[in-house]
Symmetry: C2
Subunit: 626 residues, 2 copies
């Protein structure tokens, strides 16, 4: 039984296996943020020929069903099958768009004025071969040579020693030792290699988001990013947000499943990059991981149960250096893996990485940092103090939980303009060409434009009959941003989508105002606003203010930073000084628990309008609408 | 298909499996130093009823064959089978005889005048439960409490942290932390437990001999030995001596097989002891292992190839503290495992343990220490200097390679007297009763008695017709020490046995004289001779001198120490001071490589007679024979 693709790939089928699983097993990945549960409705394929059984059509439209579109994860071949995979269903690991952003990263690293100083140092050693009269053991021989180089205090693991005899002899007694230089003079050997092999030095910078995973493979000598890749976090199949995953880990006994899911995501990307560039796993000798607190614990296989229960306690915030092998990464198993330190259960290493990357902690001006992902985390402060809080936004700006939502990858609608007269939209697509969905920045544009043009009201509800692009869809009213008969797929925003987006923006805005109150500041005292998040190439600040997501302050104070979690992970990978700054940031930050803050719920309810119940907070918006 | 034993045990059989394997799988162990290859001829069973196929009869006598005796490892059941296992074929794990020796061990430990101080210390901690206002992470909470106890610098492994959240909450914030106190102020956490569980502290002392493995389970608080066990080293199936095992590890790719064989031997004993005494694996929190250099490397899975090739280099002599989990021991996986340091490729931790146990390094008198096992290792020196050498003796004194040889366990003939007139022998059996074989001390007795009474000549050959106990056996002439018609088994020493024993004693004696020469001493300057080895409860020094195995010096200078390797492992388990003394001994010892020493071969050839070619070296023997 075979599954044939119009792209001419052929997959041997196993009895009872669905199309999604069969393709995944063969290394062909489909977009499926739900992980193949049939709920996200993104893994669409078109059946050209052959018997098959459809378990569920999920959220497919009747038009799509008529055109033989099925969900790969809900369709089981019953004999040979020929299918076509629409471009938008294929998951591209290694978005080209992210590569563009990394070209300047070496310059950005230099702007910090620190030395390139990865976790691992390398020393080259020429050993005198043993003789009957100089017959000390291999380890003593190595230690003697290290002593001469001032590296006398060196701890050796079982793994390093177990390969020592072979490496020394194969390398003809010329070896290279990678080690972690430690403050307390007791260095730790991590990898011994013969000089012929493994002579290059690479590292991984990893951002584990609740929704997406991003990996940079970095040349540790130059700091250049060799290649990048990203994918949905496969933990999505166990739940969209951290809470449902904690429940799965604890009550469902799924800790290992969750751990393996995300580690396998990272390994899939890393393996394909290493393969593409001819880099051996042993050459990737260190890694740096930034993630929120729950993702950090799941990555290391630590039960996150207590994170969810009052008083919300993580197992640890400041991680020791553990090994790639312990993490089950497919790089050098002896590599030290740095975990960017966390602050509290809901402010993690991703935020510390973001504050580091945006230099809030280095400047005297009062700055607001916010990371807009599945959680919205906010930090405020300067080089003297830092406060932080977190609010749950849901994954909508990352493209999940939105009918036509997608990540900010090629094919995503990233900007929308609506003609005030014709009410017809004009769209901008990442990478140009045919749009496949809409990403976070596109949603922000679309909502503020719809609000301005009266297509939606202050509550985010569609005004029926305002334009014929407001149509009755299968989930209620929806607005058609892009009509596409050929692909049987309109790109729309539904009323359910709108509710999700309004809730998300309200949570963020309420978080900002509550934290400012706690800090004793007003919004106009904020001199800089750094915005991070994976929701687009850019954010149209004007439009985010119009919808009441960002505070109404002078536009020039806003700086869009992109994914600061991966940037911070990269900075920590490359510099000892910056790792120390990250530790400083984490220990300095005062965490405010919004769930016990009296003001937060009021602020949230007030922010459930566009832009806000209290229009005086949005002076530049007032008078431009209605 | 079933295998039934007359002892009423019933084993389900797998198709094609031999009796030995089927029984082993069911936890019934037979004596089989060859590990089931059919070469040692010890795993005899009697077939009472049922179809079976005999692959080989090996060394079974025709009388045995006629009585339906087969080798279990060479016999495959072809249907239901009823067999009887002779008492001497059953391997008793946990020899009672060894227990007797351990009763005084706490007093012996006290005689060193050191504190009881195992590798692991325990601290009890009452943590304040977390609250919203005291919401630091679990690890920070623990570190804060440790800081108050002056234990601020503590390293935590992934394993300890991965269980931390659960242990703290289950223990209601009352926990106990086991840690390794380190000199450089950086302590290492090894095990966190709630106070309700795992409150007792035990440790393992292990002696890994080339032929036998001995394990003590020790109460770390009192120092008492809870129980002991021993077994043949299952590596025997890959070769009798270290060289053939190194070849198997290197050329046969059998490193893991060898590692798993010996680790499984230790675990089988430890598991059965823990089970017998209701001790949980988590309560066994440390271990100490003494073994020769090759056995140490194999135990840790380190390729021993270079040990065998000139210039004979071990990977390491002084082992870091690795974990029980790394060693794959079935005790607490976080337990630190101490490896008694080795000196050179052929003088290992067993000898360092022996020197430690016999206190050679503490006294000013010139002492000779020798460990008679598969290898004979010799050390000479005092509290100022130490020299050492090794010679290959073969496993005969441990009961292997000798037709009726066995270890010094109940049923072994341990003493032999031959009436000079009747030439009839009188035997002493360990534990009394029916003899099952002969152990090392019995062999020494027998040979010197046979030599004295003219049954053998100076070359160790039988004098045909001297007595009717000299019979024509299947391997040439043999002397019947014990006649047993009922069990179809005479206990004999064959001419091949004699050759093995003479070669062994010659190697040892030549080693002693060569090392003395190298040190510039003569035999009469030796003030003390400590004899170690597993060949019996005692050694009859007089008779060992008569056969030329030990030097002819005043008898009161000899002290029989038993198994000093396990004693030294025990001492290192219990005391930090003694671990330091062991390190001192190892670093102080000058190793003499006999294979490149000019005198050794001459000495060896001269020692191939009883007692010696140069009778002037044996003044007290001359005149008493012939």
């Amino acid at each position: 039984m075979e599954l044939r693709l119009t792209s001419e790939e052929i997959i041997k089928l196993k009895e009872g296996e669905n199309i999604y699983s069969a393709m995944k097993r063969s290394g062909i990945y489909l977009v499926a943020p739900c992980g193949g549960k049939g709920t996200c409705g993104k893994c669409k394929v078109m059946v050209i020929d052959g018997g098959h059984e459809v378990i569920s059509y999920g959220r497919l439209t009747s038009k799509e069903r008529e055109s033989n579109i099925v969900l790969a994860c809900q369709t089981i071949p019953r004999g040979d099958l020929l299918i076509e995979i629409p471009k938008e269903s294929r998951l591209v690991v290694g978005d080209k768009i992210a590569i563009a952003n990394t070209k300047d990263i070496v310059n950005y690293l230099r702007s910090f004025g620190v030395e390139i100083n990865p976790l691992v140092k390398r020393v080259t050693i020429e050993l005198p071969p043993p003789t009957i009269s100089d017959s000390i053991s291999d380890l003593e021989r190595l230690k003697r040579a290290l002593d001469e180089k001032g590296l006398g205090m060196m701890r050796f693991s079982h793994l390093v020693i177990s390969k020592m005899a072979d490496v020394m002899r194969h390398g003809n007694w010329n070896v290279e030792l990678d080690y972690i230089p430690c403050d307390d003079a007791s260095n730790e050997a991590v990898f011994l290699s013969s000089r012929e092999t493994c002579s290059r030095k690479y590292g991984l910078a990893v951002d584990i988001g609740t929704t997406t995973v991003v990996v940079y493979l970095v040349n540790l000598v130059s700091g250049e990013v060799v290649d990048v890749g990203s994918t949905y976090n496969s933990q999505m199949r166990y739940g969209d947000d951290v809470i449902t995953r904690i429940v799965h880990a604890t009550e469902g006994g799924g800790l290992n499943e969750l751990r393996e899911a995300v580690v396998s995501d990272i390994n899939t990307i890393a393996d394909s990059i290493m393969d593409r560039h001819g880099i051996e796993p042993c050459e990737v000798i260190t890694a740096s991981v930034a993630a929120n607190t729950t993702m950090s614990q799941l990555f290391w296989g630590l039960d996150p149960a207590a994170i969810r229960e009052e008083p919300y306690i993580p197992t640890l915030n400041s991680y020791p250096l553990w090994h790639g092998g312990t993490a089950k990464l497919s790089i050098n198993e002896q590599s030290p893996v740095y975990t960017v330190p966390c602050v509290a259960s809901y402010v993690g290493g991703d935020i510390v990485a973001g504050v580091l990357a945006s230099k809030v902690h280095r400047n005297s001006e009062i700055a607001l940092f916010m990371d807009i992902g599945t959680n919205g985390e906010i930090a405020i402060g300067n080089n003297e103090w830092l406060m932080t809080a977190a609010c749950s936004m849901g994954p909508c700006f990352e493209g999940s939980g939105i009918r036509c939502g997608m990540r900010a990858t090629p094919g995503a609608i990233e900007s929308v303009k609506i003609d005030p007269d014709t009410l017809e939209p004009q769209i901008g697509v990442i990478g140009g060409g045919h749009p496949m969905g809409i990403c976070g920045s596109g949603m922000i544009d679309a909502i503020s434009e719809m609000f301005f043009s009266g297509i939606i009201d202050q509550k985010g509800k569609f005004v029926r009959g305002k334009t014929d692009r407001i149509m009755e869809g299968e989930e209620g009213l929806e607005y058609v941003i892009y009509k596409d008969e050929a692909y049987h797929k309109n790109i729309v925003l539904t009323e359910v989508d709108m509710e999700n987006i309004v809730r998300a923006k309200a949570a963020l805005y309420a978080g900002i105002t509550t934290l400012l109150n706690e800090a004793g500041f007003t919004i106009d005292m904020v001199e800089k606003v750094y915005i991070a998040g994976g929701f687009g190439n850019y954010i149209n600040v004007e439009k985010a203010i119009i919808m009441g997501m960002l505070p109404d302050i002078p536009r020039e104070r806003f700086v869009y930073m992109g994914n600061t979690s991966i940037t911070g992970a990269y900075l920590c990978l490359m510099s000892e000084d910056l790792r120390k700054e990250a530790e400083d940031i984490a220990s300095k930050m005062t965490y405010v628990e919004l769930s016990v803050s009296r003001g937060f719920m009021d602020e949230y309810m007030s922010a459930m309008f566009l832009p806000h119940t209290d229009m005086s907070q949005f002076p530049t918006v007032t008078g431009r609408v209605f």
